[in-house]
């Protein structure tokens, strides 16, 4: 088993373990600037993992996931700043509120088929953003700043505060990854993968696909909501267009996952890393950076649907993180006849 591909694969897995250790120790290892950047990275990673779970496995293409990020931000502000709830508890509650919003949304948009469902989620997101602008205690249409007392609650010294917020983001990303990992290795995950690759396959495994899709849709909401709360701690403001930003919490996330590799566990991770590396160069380009990412995404879909990870996997022949119990032919036409 000492083929070059296997060596690379094992090397990759070792590097992954090392990366997790380094990430856990980030606040002790890196400067404040980098801690801030990595906090943002962790939040984006959570959003990418969640979008990939829905689009890549549960066959739910949502273009409205910014709704839950915004709801989480507004709920966090409400609990912590308006009603004096413990800020840590408020993050958790933000996740619960996002879940509570996801339930009626699911009941509505699941009446629509795939492509229509995508836009249905967008309509809901628009409505929630407009409604958020009507909340005068949250500053109405222009939004408001998070009170300084709440920020100081996470640490009086700047270093401590940045480290605390980072660990919150890291913890959320780590749990998002673990939950997704175990979900995808469970019967439900196997059923979803089977459905995605071949519709008859899922029925054979005996997994209730509708239930699995609902579980995924509802399951992502609390993660998105909590990410929204943590993002608010970084941005220090809530405002409808920023907290419910379709560009930041949906468009970029979709591009990242597509480029990294949709429908694979590694895809969102790779895509988010690539984005953060490229961002330094793209940031000065203004609107061009979205044009470039959009064009690259289309190119990826036309050339290698499974993105960068698909390219790597073609060379290695196995996953870095073994999710699939057998190599799957995702997104490819199945010939049954």
């Amino acid at each position: 088993m000492a083929s070059p591909a296997n060596l690379i694969l094992n090397g990759g897995r070792a590097a992954l373990v090392a990366a997790v250790v380094v990430m856990a120790a980030t606040p002790w290892l890196f400067s404040a600037t980098h801690v801030v950047l990595l906090t943002e990275f962790m939040s984006m990673l959570v959003l990418a993992i969640m979008w990939n779970l829905l689009a890549g496995y549960a066959d739910i293409v949502t273009v409205g996931q910014h709704a839950y990020v915004g709801v989480g931000a507004y709920a966090f502000f409400g609990f912590a700043a308006l009603w004096g709830v413990n800020p840590y508890l408020s993050i958790l509650l933000a996740g619960i509120v996002a879940f509570a919003i996801a339930v009626p949304t699911m009941l509505l948009v699941f009446r629509l088929r795939t492509a229509y469902l995508a836009i249905g989620t967008w309509v809901v997101a628009e409505l929630l953003m407009l409604a958020a602008g009507k909340l005068s205690a949250w500053g109405g249409g222009s939004g408001t700043s998070v009170p300084i007392s709440i920020i100081l609650y996470f640490g009086r010294a700047r270093d401590v505060r940045l480290a605390t917020i980072y660990w919150l983001a890291f913890g959320l990303a780590a749990s998002a990854m673990s939950v997704t990992y175990f979900l995808l290795r469970s019967r439900i995950g196997i059923g979803l993968t089977a459905m995605r690759d071949n519709e008859e396959g899922a029925a054979a495994i005996g997994v209730n696909i509708t239930f699995a899709r609902i579980l995924c849709f509802l399951g992502t909401a609390p993660f998105l909501g909590m990410a929204g709360a943590i993002i608010t701690l970084q941005k220090l403001r809530v405002a409808p267009p920023a907290s419910f930003s379709i560009t930041d919490w949906t468009v970029l996330i979709i591009f990242n996952v597509v480029i990294g590799g949709i429908g694979s566990f590694e895809g969102p991770i790779i895509g988010t890393i690539v984005y953060f590396v490229l961002r330094q160069y793209l940031a000065d380009l203004g609107a061009w950076h979205l044009i470039i990412l959009g064009t690259v995404s289309i190119a990826v879909i036309l050339i290698e649907k499974r993105g960068l990870w698909g390219l790597v996997r073609r060379l290695l022949g196995d996953d870095l993180i073994p999710i699939a119990h057998k190599p799957s032919a995702m997104l490819t036409k199945q010939h049954t006849g």
Binding site: V63, L108, Y116, A118, W122, L127, I254, L290, I291, K333
Partner: protein, 288 residues
């Protein structure tokens, strides 16, 4: 008081005409190719900018400018479908959603780079300022009236095209069963491209009216898409006359919401849409 409400209702109905124009192309592409073109609204805005160039740079009359854009739009839609969307269509609906979504972002930001974020508008001259007074404070703009008539005519023309012509039968055949069409030598690839071309002609027509009706800016696409989408779902998927009804329902809801403020105007439309979706998911006038 009654007159005020009647007036609002009238404005809502006329607005519904504009919304029906937004929806025609989407209804066609969604009905035939079974996918929703997420960049639909952005293509309307793109056509608005094309009209802006023709009317300002060349000083053309907006009606003539629109007539010039129509064949270009057909060709554009044909080529887009034939050489880009066709490559992902039918394989997995996810890919089409992603490609059109990416297109939407590319167009929006491309327009932003090219024209800046300032709102633009095309002058409709006398058509815009003339109003028809029905007495008792009830009146409507001539241009709004023309738009509504245009919407009704467009629905009728598309209905005739789909149900009374050879190409219409071919489009419906491909929509029924793509593989069977290919088996008997009816090239689905070409029919799809033609359908998309027609869809884009309606996009250009919608652009012609909306560019005079109200301001547009590079970010105006998604709003247009959501309205078009709500109109076709409200009306019942695949039903052209249903879309007219859907447009009017949405227009009236927005006109009533608009009594409060702009946010309520848009919210009222979304709320009506979601309520109808909850109570009657098949739409108001389902086709089948």
């Amino acid at each position: 008081m009654l007159a005020v409400w009647i007036n609002e209702l009238l404005q809502g109905v006329l607005l519904g005409g504009l919304y029906t124009l937004f929806a025609m192309g989407l209804s066609l592409s969604a009905g035939v190719m079974r996918f929703v073109n997420i960049a639909h609204g952005d293509f309307i805005v793109l056509a608005c900018y094309a009209l802006l160039l023709l009317t300002t740079a060349l000083g053309l009359n907006p009606v003539i400018a629109t007539l010039i854009v129509l064949p270009i739009a057909f060709l554009f839609g044909f080529v887009l479908q034939r050489f880009l969307l066709q490559r992902v269509v039918g394989e997995n609906v996810l890919l089409v959603i992603l490609v059109t979504f990416a297109l939407s972002i590319i167009i929006e930001n491309g327009l932003l780079e090219g024209f800046g974020a300032d709102p633009e508008k095309i002058s409709g001259g006398w058509m815009e300022t003339a109003t028809v007074a029905l007495g008792d404070g009830i009146n409507f703009g001539v241009f709004q009236g023309i738009t509504f008539v245009a919407a009704v005519v467009l629905v009728a023309v598309l209905d005739l095209l789909l149900y009374r012509t050879g190409i219409g039968a071919k489009i419906r055949a491909v929509s029924d069963d793509v593989a069977a069409a290919d088996l008997i030598g009816l090239s689905s690839v070409r029919i799809y491209a033609i359908a998309m071309g027609i869809s884009f002609v309606t996009i250009a027509i919608a652009a012609g009216f909306v560019s005079i009706w109200t301001n547009f800016d590079p970010a105006a696409g998604p709003t247009r898409l959501l309205i078009a989408f709500e109109v076709i779902v409200l009306g019942g998927l695949g039903s052209l006359w249903g879309s007219l009804a859907g447009g009017i329902v949405l227009g009236i809801a927005q006109a009533i919401g608009g009594q409060f403020d702009i946010a309520w105007q848009i919210m009222a439309g979304h709320i009506v849409f979601l309520v109808v979706l909850a109570l009657r998911p098949q739409g108001l006038f389902p086709k089948y």
